[in-house]
């Protein structure tokens, strides 16, 4: 719905005429949607704005309160949580807020604005012997720790996940106040999210990031980690034929498959316990094939090759040694664990050229788009939460049966029904997901919706915990899960009502201030 001219002018006065538009062509480039959708284009925003700094964000938020208009802020805007929840929502595309504010090597944190993408930050950090967590969606996503609905990624073993890496934060609340959380609020420094100073990390993050539902997080500090690799990885070749000239010293790559999930989980648990791995990523072989293949044809050929060579579910491991001795120790421990858990190495990927490419692709996380979208553009998933690792895998084993049923019916791509898993922080917590690829037809979309609902119900009925699928997608589903999880929905709603009394921060990816009728 078009904004009243005077209101449009008020926003224009904030950002300048070049940084606001309500032209349909501009709007439709934001309303295009991927995924299981019956319509290619969703709701249009009323206008798109491009604020350049916190002051402009604050001014926009205050105008939204004044005129009763909702706003939705986003960074790269990939996920459906960046879509508007209604007709009178203006977009804050935070593209112009793209600075790395600080890299503090001594205290090991980095402060970023929302439009710094992860590979930019990682590249700067690696020059300094440091690294950061990158979410599984890929290095093309924002490095800002509030930017994704779930912040786990391939390097979770050694770089944790976004939700746990958040330090101090600058927050423009839904009422337009600028609040500085953690050490930023008392000392003006970014090193800690929980004090000295006000700690609202639990409130602002909750189960996962609020996906635009409670204001705009304009700057945030994130923890950074040790990197023993080279400042610039020695990648050669021309796109998409990239591979390193050599595997840098003290790096090691293997993909192992196991007779069953039981042995796989045991191997991952023991790898975590021994703290030897830089990365443990439970790619299924379809995802591995996508990482390697530079086209659908290559992807297909690799998958057909690998499915004949594996025993069952598996994962890839990257070791990174701090010294030759450390590296040798880690390798020996890994070999022993794999031997004792009956793992088998997938031989074709032992080739140093392939292994080298996979190491870099899995550290930079560049192939998630291939894994999800290249096959046919349509992709969906069922996600677990962040729970004890065995529980996550049990949930995915159960959901996998639903997936296999759809594969039998010819609705999904046949990838043998596997899921993917990864642990966090060398510990017993982890995450699991199951990806599905399909062709967009009314029949397949119905089937995918049914699959998602059944997976959610399964999580409730079998007490698998609150899946990350909830965040950023379906606000009313919190009311479905809440009663089974300490009534968290009641508390989340109270926070929403307290911080956003005018409900201007579009909650289509969070929880609405008013409970929807018929949902308990």
């Amino acid at each position: 719905m078009a904004l009243d001219k005077d209101i449009y002018r008020a926003f224009e006065d904030v950002v300048g005429p070049d940084n606001i538009s309500d032209d349909p062509a501009i709007l439709d480039s934001y309303s295009y949607r991927w995924g299981p959708q019956t319509e290619t284009f969703g709701q249009r925003f009323a206008a798109i704005t491009l604020p350049k700094d916190t002051a402009e964000v604050q001014a926009i938020v205050r105008l939204c309160n004044k005129y009763g208009i909702q706003f939705k802020a986003s960074s790269t805007g990939w996920g459906s949580m960046s879509n508007p929840g209604g007709p009178e929502v203006i977009k804050m595309d935070l593209r112009r807020m793209d600075r790395i504010i600080e890299i503090n090597e001594k205290n090991m944190y980095a402060v970023v604005e929302p439009y710094v993408i992860s590979v930019q930050l990682q590249a700067e950090l690696m020059k300094r012997g440091l690294n950061c967590n990158i979410i599984g969606a890929g290095g093309n996503c924002s490095a800002h720790p509030y930017a994704a609905h779930y912040g786990g990624g391939h390097m979770g073993e050694s770089t944790s996940l976004r939700e746990r890496n958040i330090l101090a934060v600058e927050w423009v609340t839904p009422e337009g106040e600028i609040v500085k959380l953690g050490s930023l609020g008392s000392l003006g420094e970014w090193f800690c999210g929980d004090g000295p100073g006000p700690s609202l990390r639990g409130i602002t993050v909750g189960h996962a990031a609020p996906c635009g539902g409670i204001g705009v997080f304009t700057k945030a500090a994130t923890k950074i980690y040790h990197w023993a690799g080279p400042p610039i990885f020695p990648i050669e070749g021309v796109s998409p034929q990239y591979a390193p000239s050599e595997i840098p010293p003290n790096f090691f790559y293997r993909y192992y498959s196991f007779p069953s999930a039981k042995e796989m989980v045991e191997a991952q648990r023991r790898i975590g316990e021994s703290e030897i791995a830089f990365e443990v990523m439970g790619f299924n072989i379809a995802m591995l094939a996508s990482n390697m293949g530079t086209s659908n044809d290559e992807d297909y050929a690799y998958f057909e090759q690998f499915r004949k060579l594996i025993q069952g579910p598996g994962f890839q491991v990257i070791l990174m040694g701090n010294s030759p001795q450390d590296f040798e120790y880690k390798k020996q421990v890994l070999e022993q664990i794999i031997r004792e858990t009956k793992g088998e190495s997938l031989k074709p990927v032992e080739d140093p050229k392939i292994a080298g490419a996979l190491i870099w692709r899995s550290i930079r996380i560049t192939a998630s788009i291939r894994e999800c979208f290249r096959a046919g553009g349509a992709f969906s998933a069922a996600l677990g939460g962040t729970h004890p690792y065995g529980e996550e895998v049990a949930y995915m084993e159960a959901v996998s049966k639903l997936k296999k049923d759809l594969i039998k019916k010819g609705i999904l791509r046949d990838d043998d029904g596997y899921y993917l898993t990864w642990p966090h922080e060398h510990g017993h917590l982890g995450h699991a997901e199951i990806l599905i690829q399909f062709r967009q037809t009314p029949e397949s979309i119905d089937a995918i919706m049914g699959f998602s609902e059944a997976a959610m119900k399964m999580a409730i009925d079998n007490r698998y915990g609150v899946p990350h699928s909830l965040s950023g997608m379906a606000p009313d589903m919190h009311d479905m899960f809440g009663p089974h999880a300490s009534n968290y929905n009641v508390w989340q709603r109270r926070l929403k009502q307290a911080f956003d009394p005018n409900e201007v921060s579009d909650s289509s990816g969070y929880i609405k201030g008013k409970q929807q009728q018929g949902v308990s």
Binding site: I26, R374, R439
Partner: protein, 422 residues
């Protein structure tokens, strides 16, 4: 082909934003990370490769009318193809092709840009993409005693191109080229007054019919005169002859070489021997139409295989920029004694555009120079004293930008530096 023919490609866009950045595996720091001048300048998603295919879909679905803003989006793209390369790292879909078709559709439906109309009128009336040119096309060669291939059969034709012919500042490159070919003992001719525009830039501007007419006329002349090999120092001409003529089934067996490919060959065959020292630290700018867009056109005919992965029978190989012309110009530079080549951050398939392509130079000079400024700053950061390129349009745009921003950077064509060494 038409925009509608790319619907299935456009439907694959996942809005991942990868088209806005250099390939992620190659990112070396916070800057320079961007690869698309248009989104970098105008920031709204519609100006990115992905945004353009999204609104291409909207156009097909009759959701859009031609507004001033839509036309601004359509014409403010250099058609540099960087988005296409970045996307195809991960995806099997066309990006640049539907962007071309969207612009062609706008032109065919009468929604043209006045500045570009002026250029095309010049093409139609005078056969040149340089409106208001005072020189004659063959004037640069006056007194050189060169063969006219339309009168004397020569195996090799040196096609000079519109800008080099009509802009006196560019004549030095043409004369240097002639000098080098003569020293190598190449039997070559030129078209002189009979040379005509390749049509490539008309295609970039969306005037497909004008391009095809130019291509047909040129190929008729080449066939009539028994031309086997065309050598050009203009990246746009090179792309037109090699890629676009082939795309439209007009190229036949014509061998198309960029002068840097030809000189590299002549050096490696020992027919040119760079011996004089050229003590200079330079950096090389890959022209888009020689680099990522300069790979051979791939013809394909077949059908999609039913299933969940978009695959084709026979397999359909996409042009991803992998086989562009990257090494020959560098090898020529490396052959020059005393010359030190240093690289910028964005090179080869993910090089930043000079800003002059796609009609932007003519329709929006401010944006064109802004794009050049970005590249000049990147070149300066290498510590090079000169920016070397292999296309007159790049050279002209860089020189104009340098004049306005006051940089001390010099701009050369590869040919000029090699001539100094011979």
């Amino acid at each position: 082909m038409a925009l509608e023919d790319y619907r299935k490609d456009m439907e694959l866009c996942a809005k991942c934003s990868i088209c806005k950045f250099i390939p992620l595996e190659k990112m070396k720091g916070v800057q320079p990370a961007n690869v698309c001048p248009s989104i970098s300048k105008y920031n709204f998603n519609a100006y990115s490769g992905g945004g353009r295919v999204n609104i291409g879909m909207a156009m097909l679905d009759n959701r859009l009318e031609y507004t001033d803003k839509l036309l601004h989006i359509i014409y403010n793209c250099q058609m540099c193809g960087a988005c296409d390369v970045s996307c195809k790292y991960a995806m099997d879909m066309e990006v640049l092709e539907p962007i071309y078709e969207f612009r062609i559709k706008a032109v065919e439906e009468g929604h043209t840009n006045p500045a570009l109309d002026k250029v095309i009128n010049s093409l139609r009336k005078q056969g040149t993409m340089v409106p208001g040119a005072k020189a004659k096309r063959g004037e640069w060669a006056k007194g050189l005693g060169l063969k006219d291939f339309t009168r004397q059969k020569t195996k090799v034709v040196y096609h000079v191109g519109c800008l080099t012919s009509y802009d006196k500042d560019m004549w030095k490159t043409a004369r240097a080229t002639v000098n080098l070919l003569n020293k190598a003992g190449v039997d070559f001719g030129i078209g002189g007054e009979n040379e005509s525009c390749c049509g490539g830039r008309a295609y970039q501007m969306g005037y497909e019919t004008d391009f095809i007419r130019q291509a047909q006329n040129n190929m008729a002349l080449f066939k009539q005169c028994g031309v086997e090999t065309i050598v050009t120092a203009c990246a746009d001409c090179y792309h037109a002859f090699k890629v676009l003529y082939d795309k439209f089934g007009l190229k036949g067996n014509l061998e198309v070489l960029h002068i840097t490919e030809y000189l590299d060959r002549l050096i490696k065959e020992g027919r040119l021997k760079p011996r004089k020292k050229v003590a200079m630290k330079v950096t090389y700018h890959d022209p888009c139409h020689l680099g990522r867009l300069g790979e051979p056109y791939i013809h394909w005919e077949g059908k999609e295989i039913p299933g969940f992965q978009r695959r084709f029978d026979p397999p359909k190989e996409l042009m991803r920029g992998t086989y562009g012309i990257y090494e020959p110009p560098r090898d020529v530079l490396r052959s020059i004694p005393g010359l030190k080549l240093v690289e910028m951050d964005r090179i080869k398939e993910y090089a930043w555009c000079c800003g002059a392509g796609g009609g932007v130079n003519e329709s929006n000079p401010e944006f064109s120079l802004w794009t050049a400024d970005e590249r000049i700053a990147e070149a300066e950061s290498t510590g090079a004293e000169a920016l070397v390129t292999a296309c007159p349009w790049c050279e002209k745009n860089f020189n104009q930008a340098i004049k306005e921003c006051g940089s001390s950077l010099k701009v050369y064509d590869v040919v000029e530096l090699l001539e100094k060494a011979i």
